[in-house]
């Protein structure tokens, strides 16, 4: 079984962390992944930086720009990760935008991920219909789980479609917003989380966008399997550096 599904089948709520590969320094990638696992993080989204991250707010935009300036590329990331499975056991997901994957060659990209031991892919701008028509067979061939997003605006009908196309978890975007928005969770999120819980989907849901502390983590995981923290973690790295990863994780899950 894919490591993502094993983890989803385990007890308890999952804490997943997103970070931008190549930030703060080009070669921090492996250390960040190892430290996150050591501190009890359940799953990691490794962000492949893109020059024009449309769905991201300023924090991830800036970390992406810095990572690219540091020299991060698809090839560089794969090289950095080539021995990662010697030390790391938790599920690893590559998250990015579709153009770098397209330029690398979708099949070549998937093959490298498989060689390394990557378990899944999140490409927000690779739409469901194109994925199914052109790329699903390639992802499957290399054992990669493709994760789709839903938002508060996604219709129930489309959520069912996405649920049927998924084989892992559904990435539930918490609010109508790009990443890193400041507003906490209000009644609207509560209703959305309940609506989705009520749909009894086949795939568990993990909430992302806007989770920044233990309070938002609790709220996001009340009706779901877990939550993903991105911008708040990157801000912590910016401020405190890569040596202070434990102090961040303990504020989320003491």
């Amino acid at each position: 079984m894919n490591r993502i599904n094993q983890k989803l089948n385990s007890e308890g709520k999952l804490l997943s962390i997103y970070f931008t590969a190549g930030y703060p320094a080009l070669n921090d990638t492996v250390k960040i992944i190892q430290d996150l696992e050591k501190n009890g993080v359940d799953m990691i989204e490794i962000g492949l930086p893109f020059s024009d991250p449309l769905a991201d707010g300023p924090t991830i935009q800036e970390s992406s720009t810095a990572a690219l300036k540091n020299g991060m590329t698809s090839e560089e990331l794969f090289n950095q990760l080539k021995d990662i499975r010697k030390t790391v056991r938790i599920p690893l997901i590559v998250m990015g935008y579709f153009n770098p994957m397209l330029q690398y060659g979708v099949e070549a990209f998937c093959k490298r991920c498989n060689d390394i031991g990557i378990d899944g892919i999140i490409m927000p701008d690779l739409p469901l219909d194109v994925y199914q028509a052109e790329y699903e067979s390639i992802f499957k061939k290399y054992g990669l789980i493709n994760v789709f997003l839903i938002t508060p605006q996604t219709s129930n009908e489309r959520i069912r479609q996405i649920d049927a196309a998924s084989d892992g978890f559904i990435y539930m975007v918490s609010s109508a917003s790009v990443t890193g928005s400041k507003s906490g969770f209000g009644n609207e999120q509560g209703r959305y989380f309940e609506r989705i819980a009520g749909m009894e989907l086949d795939n568990p849901q993990i909430v992302g966008f806007g989770i920044k502390d233990s309070e938002t983590f609790q709220a996001a995981t009340k009706d779901t399997k877990g939550a993903i923290i991105g911008s708040a973690f990157i801000k912590h790295l910016t401020k405190h550096g890569v040596e202070e990863i434990p102090s961040f994780i303990t504020t989320i899950r003491p």
Binding site: A55, N99, Q103, P124, Q153, S155, V178
Partner: protein, 412 residues
């Protein structure tokens, strides 16, 4: 009421969407280019538009209001003017399609009138737009004032500085101009910010894209609104020359909306030569250029698969052109297809060639063009036409907004 003939004509136009060929197919593809590569956050908005745009825009009452506004408010039809001295100089027969005479000074308003009416039909109350040269921003601010809708325009910080008169016009029209501070601080970045705004405001907001770019249905919708340009050229040329089809039509290409509108009704007429002029900046191979067809590879930008200037790793590169409206690393999917299929000839003009052509047009014909438009007129230094060729050039906009750049360049 529309007559039977008009209705049949409209039905025929509407069906073009299913045709493919040089027009968008149902999924918004022109050959291999186009589509809608959008994050799920944008799916409901774009899907709403995709489902309804044809139905809305080919409704009788919509057509009536659209055509009325084009006539009474924009001042259409725009003249097709025989350029005597220019023709003499280049020993051919040149007609200018005077989009510069439209209200607000460029072709951009054809599209914003259309889209604001669509936005109203969809019940939207807040309008966002991106702008490069500021022409689309002004055209959007104008129709928002006309309809009493809130308007926010994203504009690269660099463009805010080089197109100051248009920034002032937008403000005077009641729009809020928000600077895009990321990347090259030009059109690409303004578009990123507008898309992020739409993600943050999915319910009440319509995004009026200003060129034939973006996810389906935008390239097709914008092309249809701009196609009034070629529709008029056909009957105007018939009146003047006794034939509907010129030998060549020429347009500059940023994202490609004036070009798409100028080409639309000639795409399926093989005897009409289609000519596109992109911005070479300081020269195609200088690293400071926006000549997408020459420098680009197939990729995805702003939700659309198209020719794109990028690194081998798939990072979008910063374009450069003296003209803010052509300073874009991609090109609309129709044009990628016209390029790849060989249906159109592509040229590029440097900053110097475009500026010189702009000065020449001013002094031969008494028309100061936008710098974007100057690129189209630089065709004469790249291609020789025959004496009896009829060449129609899209005079996409006037140069008022560019006076400071002209002053600095020519030390006027």
């Amino acid at each position: 009421m529309l007559g039977g003939k008009e209705i049949r004509k409209m039905e025929k136009e509407k069906r073009k969407n299913q045709m493919g060929g040089f027009h968008a197919d149902e999924k918004g593809y022109y050959g291999e280019f186009g589509g809608a590569f959008i994050p799920e956050m944008l799916y409901p908005n774009v899907e709403e538009l995709r489902q309804h745009y044809l139905e809305i825009m080919y409704e009788d009452s919509f057509q009536k209001e659209f055509n009325q506004l084009l006539k009474d408010y924009v001042g259409r039809p725009s003249p097709l003017y025989f350029a005597n001295r220019l023709s003499e100089k280049y020993n051919t027969r040149v007609y200018l399609k005077r989009e510069d005479l439209n209200h607000t000074g460029a072709h951009k308003i054809n599209n914003t009138i259309g889209q604001i009416l669509v936005a109203k039909k969809l019940g939207k109350t807040r309008i966002i737009a991106e702008t490069g040269a500021g022409q689309h921003g002004v055209a959007t601010a104008t129709v928002c004032a006309l309809m009493g809708l809130k308007c926010i325009v994203y504009m690269g910080e660099k463009d805010i500085a080089r197109q100051a008169p248009n920034v002032a016009r937008m403000k005077m029209l009641g729009a809020e101009v928000r600077p895009a501070l990321s990347g090259s601080k030009t059109l690409k970045d303004a578009t990123n910010e507008a898309i992020r705004d739409w993600i943050n405001n999915p319910v009440d907001t319509h995004y009026i894209i200003g060129s034939a770019i973006g996810p389906h249905p935008y390239p097709d919708m914008v092309t249809r609104f701009q196609s009034v340009i070629s529709e008029e050229i056909k009957w105007q040329l018939k009146e003047k020359e006794g034939r509907e089809n010129p030998d060549y039509i020429v347009a500059c290409i940023g994202g490609g909306s004036n070009a798409a509108g100028t080409y639309h009704h000639f795409l399926d007429e093989p005897e009409v030569g289609i000519i596109a002029v992109e911005a070479a900046g300081k020269g195609v191979n200088t690293g400071e250029s926006a000549a997408t067809s020459a420098l680009g590879k197939v990729g995805i930008i702003h939700g659309c698969k198209t020719m794109l200037m990028q690194t081998v790793d798939g990072q979008i590169t910063e374009p450069y052109s003296i003209s803010a409206g052509l300073d874009y690393p991609g090109v609309g999917p129709m044009h990628s297809h016209l390029y790849k299929s060989g249906r159109a000839e592509f040229y590029s003009a440097t900053d110097d060639e475009a500026m010189t052509a702009g000065l020449e047009l001013s002094q031969l014909e008494g028309i100061i063009p936008a710098i974007e438009t100057g690129h189209a007129f630089a065709i004469f230094s790249h291609k020789k036409f025959k004496p009896d060729d009829i060449v129609v050039i899209s005079l996409s906009g006037r140069g008022d907004k560019d006076l400071q750049t002209y002053i600095d360049y020519f030390k006027l």
